[in-house]
Point group: C2
Chain length 312, copies 2
DNA sequence: GCGCCATATACTCCGCCTGAGCAAAAGTCG
DNA sequence: CGACTTTTGCTCAGGCGGAGTATATGGCGC
């Protein structure tokens, strides 16, 4: 029988909820995963339409901003759960990953769907003060695994900002995940290959290669913050500068200087102050802002954001 | 009969030749296009392997650096030339675009393949002094077409750096091409839709949506220069700083300040000076440099490059 | 109303990066 | 040797970003 080609669509639908970045997950037989569906060339004119269609059917949540991430076509990646999408083990599955952003974490209609924090799957990516960061020295574990291999050590240094003049670059989430996969510090590495356990496992696993897709999405979103006004896709219509900053910090995964953030946001001209204020924090009331027209549209500049400058 | 799903692979193979950026093109019945082939799930384990396979067969050129660009799945995009890849008009074609870089523009074995300058297809993207830039005021033509529509004018301003504080951002090549397509300033717009001619047509057309894919590749490559050391994939083993600068300028499409370029490159630590020199320009001999280990690997920083600050 | 607290907002200061240009060095060519 | 070309070294000023201090404006307990 002929091996048919099947295209699957995966979505990382992200939002910010109670100051934490969350992603829409669906509970499947093998564990948690991203929403996905099969692309049917008969029914769907474009990928995006197909995506909106099945996400809305699966969760009753509408998609607003949508962006293509990457197309995964390697044989073997889908093996463990091929039957889920294709219904036929001999099919060859190619999957197209998408990133979608929502300004609200609305409750999904489906019981098996839920918003879950990024930090569940990537505890090491959240370096904000007071957050549950996995204090484990992952870079140290990796270096031990590298056993002096220079090329590997260089990759580790760049990915984790160890190294002499290196800095933690938040958008390298995928680099970090892939290193950890190779070093077998994540459960997927054991599931996909032999069952030899690594020293410690970090974060919760997802089915198939969904955690890899999520890492791709996180990195892409973080990078995009700096050159496109995507942060406003995660905010409501109106917000205080503190709320905006908390949204940015949630995505970036580290704290930033308050006064400088205000300065950079205000001079960028992406927001405008309204004449109303809110009093929600127990201190001085904050002015309410909204995004200007500049921050709309497919093109437009992003925010000038600082780099992480902590230790560890 | 069932509509089958077919995956096509397209490659933008770029190089720098005689100071100009070039792309490998293949002559087809309907005009020039990018090399492409059909992905066969039976034969190929990954997209990249398939890509290397058919490019080497079509042109006898090996691919070095390869990067996925985007997956195009909209129905209709492939209509005009569907039969080329599929051999069956009822198939649904999805195409995955790739960017590949070569340090040498080797002569392809196939007679129908040739290196052609980017500027053939995108004359407006080359703003270097003394180059054949199409002096036509494209932004003006676009604004005339926009007829006061604010949203459109804002897009034009951002794409072309017109607008008050806007600057020409070289990586927005796709934004510019898409606007021109919508305004029917490129031949493809007439071929794909009705035959109503626009005022002027710019650049040479390519078959299918290949010029769009090329625009995507140019934009991606230009952007990537700033944060990954990809420029060295386009250079030989050894080079002078002038040659390196000319390579960068060719890709960026504008001239940059010589002394500042030297400073930024040297402080970045991506190159190291050898103790040899060449005398090729009729002036003082230039030191030969080579890329350091830092510039290798999937990760690593890029060059700090200036922005275009010309007029027009 | 008054002191205290918490947060929002304003302003300052300084170092570094970057843009821009001058000038010297090291060759070729007539 | 002098004119010319290109490489290389250096300086200087403006601006942006990082970090901290100070002030404004509300609530709350008394």
């Amino acid at each position: 029988m002929e091996r048919r080609l099947v295209i699957g669509l995966n979505v990382v639908l992200a939002a910010v909820k109670d100051g934490d970045p969350v992603v829409l997950c669906v509970k499947r037989p093998g564990g948690w995963g991203l929403p996905f569906g099969r692309f049917d060339p008969e029914d769907h004119r474009t990928f995006e339409l197909a995506l909106r269609d099945f996400v809305e059917r699966q969760t009753a949540l509408p998609l607003e901003y949508v962006e293509q991430l990457y197309t995964f076509g390697d044989r073997g990646r889908e093996a463990p759960r091929a039957s889920l999408v294709s219904g036929d083990e001999t099919d060859r599955i190619v999957s197209v990953g998408y990133l979608a952003l929502s300004s609200e974490a609305l409750t999904p209609s489906l019981e098996s769907a839920a918003w879950r924090r990024w930090s569940t799957f990537f505890p090491w990516e959240d370096r904000r003060e007071g957050k549950v960061r996995s204090c484990a020295d992952i870079a140290g574990e990796l270096r031990q695994w590298a056993k002096g291999d220079e090329a590997l050590e260089s990759r580790i240094d760049i990915a984790f900002g160890t190294g002499d003049d290196g800095a933690w670059e938040e958008e390298r989430a995928l680099d970090r995940y892939e290193l950890m996969y190779e070093a077998r510090l994540v459960a997927e590495a054991h599931r996909d290959r032999d069952g030899v356990e690594g020293p410690v496992l970090h974060g919760e696993a997802m089915i198939s290669d969904h955690r890899r897709i999520l890492a791709t999405a996180i990195g892409r979103l973080r990078g995009k913050l700096r050159y496109r006004p995507v942060i406003f896709k995660l905010m409501g219509e109106e917000f205080t500068l503190r709320e905006l900053q908390e949204g940015v910090e949630a995505v970036l995964g580290f704290d930033i200087h308050k006064q400088n953030f205000r300065r950079s946001v205000e001079t960028a001209g992406l927001v405008e102050k309204t004449d109303t204020t809110v009093q929600a924090t127990g201190g001085r009331p904050a002015a309410i802002y909204r995004a200007t027209g500049l921050s709309d549209g497919p093109t437009a500049a992003g925010l000038a954001l600082p780099r992480y400058r902590g230790t560890l």
